[in-house]
Symmetry: C2
Subunit: 140 residues, 2 copies
Amino acid sequence: MSIQRTYTTVIERLRDAGLRPTRQRKELGKLLFDGPDRHVTAEALHSEAAASGIRVSLATVYNTLNQFTDAGLLREIVVDGDRAYFDTNVSNHHHFYHVDSGALQDIDGTNVVVSNLPEAPHGATVERIDVVVRVSGARQ
Amino acid sequence: MSIQRTYTTVIERLRDAGLRPTRQRKELGKLLFDGPDRHVTAEALHSEAAASGIRVSLATVYNTLNQFTDAGLLREIVVDGDRAYFDTNVSNHHHFYHVDSGALQDIDGTNVVVSNLPEAPHGATVERIDVVVRVSGARQ
DNA sequence: TGACTTTTTAGAATCGTTCTAAAAAGTGTT
DNA sequence: AACACTTTTTAGAACGATTCTAAAAAGTCA
């Protein structure tokens, strides 16, 4: 029952995004969107899927993460050149980045204000302002 | 004369950083630190060196950029998972990032304030706060 | 079900970056 | 200047995250 309901929700999300609800997209979507917000890498999601008994190739995990991002279901975070992080929280927010562990932690963006920024270069449109607070020395 | 003076400056910088003033480090240092602040990638600096008649391998360019960064002579900027950018401006500042062209532009950091950030996670030390304003649609 | 389009997949390819281990260069001492 | 010693440079291999390829599988719709 609850599985059915959840699945329906994911299917709707996919349909709204113009993505066919394939088995892989539904199952990965369920992992990603069922439960609290999270940050994943492609490898981590692939391992998690495998551990949950979901059969999906790494290429499909990459494709799916990119498609979800293009559709606005995920947001890509750049904090480290080594790997791409995807965030299920697509609302206005920023991040703590633990440089030692690679862990990310959300900072709610509703109260954060970046003031005294100069105007955007002539002709340019601001797409997004990312604030990354790099911290070290704490676990998680 | 002026060349000699410049070289001396680079040599001092290298010595202060605990780096032996090898031919490659002096020449790359001259390209990087002579003149206004700039943003480079390893490939771009390697090409520029070649164009200036400087014989240096790509591996050495990478090594040198990393050593300069560790020594505080450069700062690494993460805006894009595809390549690493190095900034000769190591003072407090932020960036406009032109997503179309990959170009970076400095934003002086003396007036920029990020307010209402939550406290750093318990036990963590803030290393740095990076603000990246992603813009599109303008050339430059 | 059939006809058609999209998606998935394994494995190859790509590309920025790092590693390796051997040659070259820098340093301090005689 | 030559020596002994350490560090650096180098070409090319290796690496790792990500994308590409083109063939098989699955989804869609009449």
